[in-house]
Each structure stands twice: as structure tokens, then as C-alpha cells.
Symmetry: C2
Subunit: 159 residues, 2 copies
């Protein structure tokens, strides 16, 4: 005995058409696209035992050694309390160190360790590869246009 | 005495440039764009006392009266256990009813009430208005292109 709903779900794993009236919203389509990316990214990053947000934090610290926790929280748009857990995780794995800031005992500059730089490079290569494969169904011109429009939107929303 | 990091955060509320090396990833840009949309959408939907996912569920039920919970969970790409809470919330507010499915006592068809249809229409108008204002910084052609590329990506990822 077959279950028609379960069969429909198997044949339609992305839920197409059922959500037809929502696909007119840009927000809904951004969410569905991001879900696909996040699910594949989680698979890729699990090999490194770091979540996406920790990868983002490590990447920024490697790119801008010495930035403060406040500035990193601002860059990642997360609460400072959440950032503390991420910083603890990265420091606990010896990927970064907290260095004192001259003339300001309350603040710390975040510095990558050699191991942190090495891991960030390996992860970045994996993430580039994940995006290359995942977005193979749209052309290079479409990927570039997608990036351009998303940047333009973000800038306009910040203005 | 000014705090340079706090001042930078005020002048740069979207964290531009600090996250420079991440903006090459499509996934990261999708996430940042979606965060902007979700934050504005939450403000708009709070007037109706429903979250975005409950709005999505109600919209689908109004659009496709009689669909099953399994099919709705599939459309929204959420676990059935999470869907139960949403269904309870919508039914508790008399926006939908669970109708029995002929010849299958285990399943229920979801039907909107007149109040549910009315609220969905009012919410949809508000969400259309929110997107029109929020995306005013990109052109109509760019919005259409963004939608087209996101749809194409989603279809390609499902294939």
C-alpha cells in the first residue's frame, strides 16, 4: 500500500509547486537557496569539525589579524555573547590567540596561529570547491550577476 | 573618550569591508541578504502576531485547501514535529481546521477558515509592500533577474 503524500515527497524533494504562491517573494527564494547551500556546506565543514559561523570568524581573523572582538562581532552581525563561544572554540583548538591591546586592558586583539592559518586555507579551498560544484547549474555570468545584485541590495539596505 | 571599535560599528552597521574575504562566497552573500529581509519581515509580521514560517504555512493552506500535513511539511522543508506546533498555533487561532480524509483515519486535510483567508490576504499585502520598499534600491529588472537565477539554481540543485 503506497502513501500518496510520501510518494509525492519522494518525487518532489524540493517541494516544488506546493509552495507556488510563496515563490513570488524574493525573501522566500533567498531562504530556499540558502537552505540548499547551508546543508551542503555543513557536510563539507563537518570534515573540519567547525560550523559555518566559526569558519567565517576564523577567515576574518586570518584576513585581518589583530582586529578586536567588537569589530569581529560587528562584521559577523552576531551578539558579543555568541561570539565569546566561537572565540573560545577557536582558541581552545589553538587556531587563534587573544593578544593584549596596548593601552587598553579591557580589549583583546585576535591573532591567528600558524595552525589557524593553515586550517583556514584548507577550509577556504574546500568551500570554493563546494560552491563551484553546487552552483554548476547556473552559468558563470549568472553567478557573477547574482553576486552583483546581492551586493547592490545589501549596500542599498545599509544606506 | 571615544571607543574606536564602537565608532567603527556605528559608522559601518552592516560590517562592510571587515568581512571582505567572505563576500566572494555566494552562500555568504545569500545569508547576509536574507538576514536583512528577515529582520524587516519580522517587524512587519509582528503586527499580525505570526512568525514567517506560520505565515508561509497559512499561505500554502489558503492556496491549496485540503493538502495534508505531510505535503505541507514537504513544501516548507521542515520536520513534521515542528509542523505540528505551527498547525496547532494556526488552528488555535481559528485560522485553519483539520478535516478528516475519507478512507484514511490517520491523515487530516488542512482547510483555511474564512478568518484564515482574510488574515492571509492582509498579510500577503503587507509582505508585498515590505518587499517593494526593501528592494527599492535594486531595479525591477534586477529583482526579476535575481528571482530567475535563484529559481534556476534551486531547480538545478534538486535535479
Amino acid at each position: 500500500m503506497t502513501d500518496p503524500a510520501a510518494q509525492a515527497a519522494r518525487e518532489n524533494p524540493q517541494g516544488f509547486e506546493v509552495d507556488g504562491n510563496l515563490t513570488g517573494y524574493i525573501g522566500y527564494n533567498l531562504k530556499r537557496a540558502l537552505s540548499i547551500v547551508q546543508s551542503d556546506l555543513a557536510r563539507v565543514l563537518s570534515a573540519f569539525e567547525l560550523r559555518a559561523v566559526s569558519f567565517s570568524a576564523l577567515s576574518i581573523i586570518v584576513d585581518q589579524p589583530g582586529l578586536t572582538q567588537t569589530r569581529l562581532a560587528d562584521a559577523l552581525q552576531i551578539e558579543r555573547s555568541n561570539l565569546v563561544n566561537i572565540i573560545d572554540e577557536l582558541a581552545g583548538r589553538n587556531l587563534i590567540v587573544r593578544a593584549p591591546v596596548a593601552h587598553d586592558r579591557r580589549r583583546h586583539a585576535l591573532m591567528p596561529t600558524p595552525a589557524g592559518k593553515q586550517l583556514a586555507a584548507a577550509m577556504q579551498a574546500s568551500v570554493v570547491d563546494h560552491e563551484r560544484k553546487l552552483f554548476a547549474g547556473i552559468t558563470a555570468a549568472e553567478r557573477a550577476e547574482l553576486q552583483r545584485i546581492l551586493h547592490k541590495f545589501r549596500k542599498s539596505a545599509a544606506a
